[in-house]
Symmetry: C2
Subunit: 188 residues, 2 copies
DNA sequence: CGCCGAGTTGAACTGAATCAAGAAACGTGG
DNA sequence: CCACGTTTCTTGATTCAGTTCAACTCGGCG
């Protein structure tokens, strides 16, 4: 079990069989139907998911309106780190956009792995470093780029998003309306 | 040496004398004059700074225009993590806004500490988790809040910024022009 | 004193939002 | 597997928040 995760971890940090055993035995399989929630805002995020198949959308629900914050695809983790780490209620929702197959791990298990296995502690740091850099790039995009430039970055850097995600969610992710994104696309 | 850093670290993660010794011996003192650069974009960020006194401004320089990305004050680290971690050139500048007194640590020293001291590896993870959450909040602010709401959050959450930072840099940080921020203020 | 950068204020402009209506795509049940 | 109804996407007209440009004030500092 957890073949996809193992393949991923092998690339990130060296670990021996013992460490992998411990990791593997804390994993649970889970399946989500299309449009099923992995996390609902207000809940505490007690499990992180590693996506083996399908993808999820992360969105804030504010005043009846959904504002898309992020997407997570195959070989990525999903959930609310802020909530997972702090134990505070999550501020956004995580919903399966397609049927999703994933592995989950609880915060308790994660902390146990961190405390007992140097390689997993290190993995925790490395993962956070990567995610931080991603968020920093997104910050830069909001500060420096026009909506049009942001869309073009999307085309260049994550073309699979543009293929698989309905336009209205991409628009929301870019911080613009579907109408504006539609017009940007038809200009090319 | 490094009293301020020690006081800070004591609150974040338990560590014994040996670990602290190793940390302390990798630190260098440094002083920056007002308006002196700690990091210039295009350079690789080879040292992280821990600010004991004063504050710095982080800004992108694009087409002759300065766009402020962040500020770091006393008891915070400064530099470009993305560059520090990856060894790639930094995409922004770090400039002292007041005379700054700080401690610096090299990437090599940091990696050595991470590999040899469990507590510092853990500190690395914990720091990154915090910084990630901060960036996530800033992302949320761009997605969900109007410029006016963003300014009010600033007033509430980091009032010392509003006190110490010239308005034009705050405006840039919020992603608006000084004129707009001036008008927002005069409405209250 | 007079200069200079920071902040303010006003007027015109503009890019994106909003509102509205029509076309296309999708998935659901018969 | 088709037909219908709902959602998604497009297109156009209007509105509006924030930018731009320009002029003026203020306070610090040579």
């Amino acid at each position: 079990m957890g073949e996809e995760l193992k393949a991923y971890l092998d690339k990130v940090v060296p670990h021996d069989d013992d460490a992998w055993q411990a990791m593997q035995s804390s994993l649970k399989r889970r399946q989500l139907a299309r449009h099923e929630h992995f996390l609902v805002q207000g809940e505490v995020c007690r499990h992180l998911g590693f996506i083996a198949e399908g993808y999820v959308r992360l969105y804030y629900l504010v005043g009846g309106e959904e504002i898309t914050k992020d997407f997570n695809f195959e070989n990525e983790f999903c959930g609310s780190y802020a909530s997972f780490i702090s134990g505070q209620p999550a501020l956004f929702n995580v919903m399966a956009m397609e049927p999703v197959r994933l592995y989950t791990i609880s915060r308790d298990s994660q902390l146990m792995l961190f405390e007992n296995y140097f390689c997993w502690q290190k993995l925790g740091r490395l993962s956070m470093e990567r995610m931080f850099i991603k968020k920093e790039q997104r910050e830069a995009s909001f500060l420096l780029d026009s909506p049009e430039a942001r869309y073009e970055k999307l085309l260049r850097e994550t073309p699979h998003w543009v293929q698989r995600v309905p336009l209205k969610y991409l628009a929301s992710y870019l911080g613009i309306t579907p109408e504006t994104l539609s017009r940007i696309r038809n200009k090319r």
